[in-house]
Symmetry: C2
Subunit: 458 residues, 2 copies
């Protein structure tokens, strides 16, 4: 490793190669509890720098673990033992915004909200909105196929990636996709890298598709006595041809946590609340859409429907949803947020079974998430200093995954697999799929130096 | 091969294995001029039948060329020498329609409009609408990632495929994806099979995502003196946040052909016409949207904007676009339709260069297509009995591809590569991409028995 570090320093210069323990700690963790200090952290400033790193690593068979801002929630960017942590954060330039063809060319380290703000200046919109978007990078978002509340209407990160520049395990630079919106020329390599968590290649640039910025938005907060009614409402709204930008669910435990922390005057005797938001460029159409959704809510048994009449009221309605995470932090020293998806119709059954697990293990589990996509975030509240609680959390995670799989759902909607969900991959996908994925992994990375030990179980 | 045919017949029965020359002719062609008679045609009735065929083929190293209704336009389903033609047409059952979660599970041989009609009965909508949809199968549509006019708003076939059942080259059955709308669990195998034209595995079933059926539609036909104005209009409409279901372009040559054949009273002195269609579930919003689009057309220099006031008028407006193909057939004995895509802003330049090529070679080239996606179908009109014309056509095809690539476009938006575009693949994608694609191909099909000689150049 000493030789590798010398070669890296000679090739890239001292400013891009960090080895002091105090520096390396910064590259040792992600958004989870896991931590492992890399042997060296490298901060490339160009695709060519990444090529240099990969070639040196390949020559010596040293693992490379790429990372953006490392806000991931599945351990995917935690360095493996004896590895190079490759941080793309300095590659943060927006190279081009094309307002006519509605595209942006960006380096992997661009922060998502920086991209959003830059394109908004020319009336354009980058829709994917993971909660991490003020910290997380577009490269990390692509590597995990990040989602967010707006995905119901607009789709996930992968739906906005037209092409990628990727450094392969042998140091070759691959360009995938391109500027054409429709493109059926060979295998869809772009989609293969989306969600591959740095295990098939290192994404250094992306060509991003944009849309016109919606000018108007309307928001409703809806209370339901019964979770089943809330779930039926979600389906009824979509069946009516209404596609809200956002259709967020909070269960009674989430509501109780928020109310305890924030005193917003939320009702404590409802089983669920929905936040519904419509958006678009024609104000009257946006209003008609939220009113149609509100009408359906009333027909399907909502106790109360509050449609925001102005921006201040809208902010007030969103306060509830935005307060979920900080509220949980007050309730218990630690939380572990999962990311299952189930078919929409299975949401009530999933929440009921999760509640039963919560009762069984004696730890609160708060459920909220993107109801329109069937993407739920059960958050387990606990104290990690208590070994019994930590042991229970590990059991509960397994139970939650089994609930998802049993309801024809899966392990992750938008966080990815990393190391945290590895033990459940065979159960989720079956041995044939895992075998095929290993064939792909070996085809791209025969030495297994790109983020080894992630995504695919041994 | 005799032994292979015997084994196939023993395993599947006579009714599923055709060897008479008169039967085999039916499996020798696609929608192009190419033709090659297979040694045997097999008509499986289940995924298990396909497994049986693949295992026998693998044992003997015999190529398998899968096909649906073989309406493809790139030679992708033409049997290779000494191959088994595997027709999925008997696997035409719609296995399940789930009106709540809005999905359908179908066998690969289901005709696209049959799927569309079946889901429409429960208020649902399968949007992709290739012109072949009355003949072509969902399996073929997936294998080529078929498009159509509605793709501007709704996306291409791949955007509606949530999961696949695929028989791999070793006879294993792989299930990809699943019922969750969001799914970041391992590599995106579903997208890898979409557009792979039967070279990575044989798709036998698909889980299809549906949406609510739009209840209302409005249509406008717009005439432009200048092609540049028409193109700027397309961009202005999208920049205004209007997303029409359809934004179709016809150039002056197309208009002249239609008028000559159909006498619809179309103007012969305009450079371009657009057909714009908005749709949705709120009639007033749909009307407002077409009116907003019409206003933009007038502002950007349209000579005339006709908005259909009723269904009869709408049918009349569509007659022009629908008449393109039959009109071309009257104009010349043969036509060859290409399928390039360019960035939207490059459409006028692409059309101008194509016209220059037409003049240079002395053969008419009609251009129409999906302007909102930058997907153009230049159709070369000629007489194949004239060897000089046929030689010119081959030159023209190369020129058209070079125009597309030069304008940062590509070879195919919705037809695929097959054999027709193989000679241009290295130029389009570069050697690194082709190398990576071969790695994938070998990982899936080490014996190269799945549709060999298609998609990837040797």
């Amino acid at each position: 490793m000493k030789e590798v570090i010398e070669k890296l320093t000679d090739a890239l210069g001292r400013s891009k190669v960090l080895t002091a323990p105090i520096d390396l700690v910064a590259y040792s963790f992600d958004g989870t509890f896991e931590q492992r200090v890399p042997d060296v952290a490298v901060l490339p400033e160009s695709t060519q720098d990444v090529v240099t790193v990969v070639k040196i690593a390949a020559e010596h068979g040293v693992p490379i673990v790429a990372r953006g801002m490392a806000s991931g929630l599945a351990g995917g960017s935690i360095p493996s033992a004896g590895s190079i942590a490759l941080s793309l954060t300095r590659m943060n330039r927006i190279l081009q915004i094309d307002p006519v063809d509605m595209t942006a060319t960006v380096e992997a380290g661009v922060i998502v909200t920086d991209l959003e703000a830059a394109v908004a200046k020319v009336g354009l919109f980058y829709p994917p909105d993971p909660s991490s978007n003020k910290q997380s990078t577009i490269g990390g978002n692509i590597a995990c196929n990040a989602g967010g509340p707006r995905c119901l209407k607009y789709g996930v990160t992968g739906d906005y990636i037209m092409g990628l520049t990727v450094v392969l395990a042998n140091g070759e630079v691959l360009k995938t996709g391109g500027r054409p919106i429709k493109n059926v020329v060979g295998y869809d390599l772009t989609s293969l890298f989306v969600g591959s968590e740095g295990t098939l290649g290192i994404i250094t640039e992306a060509l991003v598709r944009l849309v016109a910025k919606p000018q108007f938005v309307r928001t409703a907060l809806v209370e339901f006595d019964s979770l089943d009614d809330a779930s039926r409402t979600v389906n009824a709204i979509l069946a009516a041809g209404i596609v809200p930008a956002t259709l967020e669910l909070m269960d009674e435990t989430a509501i109780a946590c928020i109310e305890e922390a924030m005193k917003l005057g939320l009702p404590l005797d409802v089983e669920a609340m929905l936040i519904i938001e419509t958006d678009g460029s024609d104000e009257e159409a946006v209003v008609r859409e939220i009113e149609a959704a509100a009408r359906i809510c009333r027909e399907t048994g909502a106790r109360q429907v509050s449609v925001a009449q102005d921006e201040a009221e809208r902010a007030r309605l969103w306060r509830a949803r935005r307060s979920v995470s900080p509220s949980l932090a007050r309730k218990a020293p630690n939380k572990l947020g999962e990311d299952i998806t189930v078919p929409r119709s299975a949401i009530p059954e999933a929440v009921r079974r999760i509640k039963a697990v919560s009762a069984q293990y004696g730890l609160p589990i708060v459920v909220f998430g993107h109801a329109g996509d069937g993407n739920l975030h059960p958050n387990i509240l606990f104290d990690r200093r208590d070994p019994a609680q930590w042991a229970a959390v590990e059991q509960i995670v397994g139970e939650i995954f089994r609930i998802a799989l049993d309801l024809e759902g899966t392990l992750s909607g938008e966080h990815g697999i990393g190391t945290f969900k590895l033990p459940y991959m065979v159960e989720a996908l079956g041995p044939t799929s895992i075998g095929v994925q290993w064939h792909i992994k070996r085809a791209f990375d025969p030495q297994n130096i790109l983020n080894p030990g992630k995504v695919l179980p041994q």
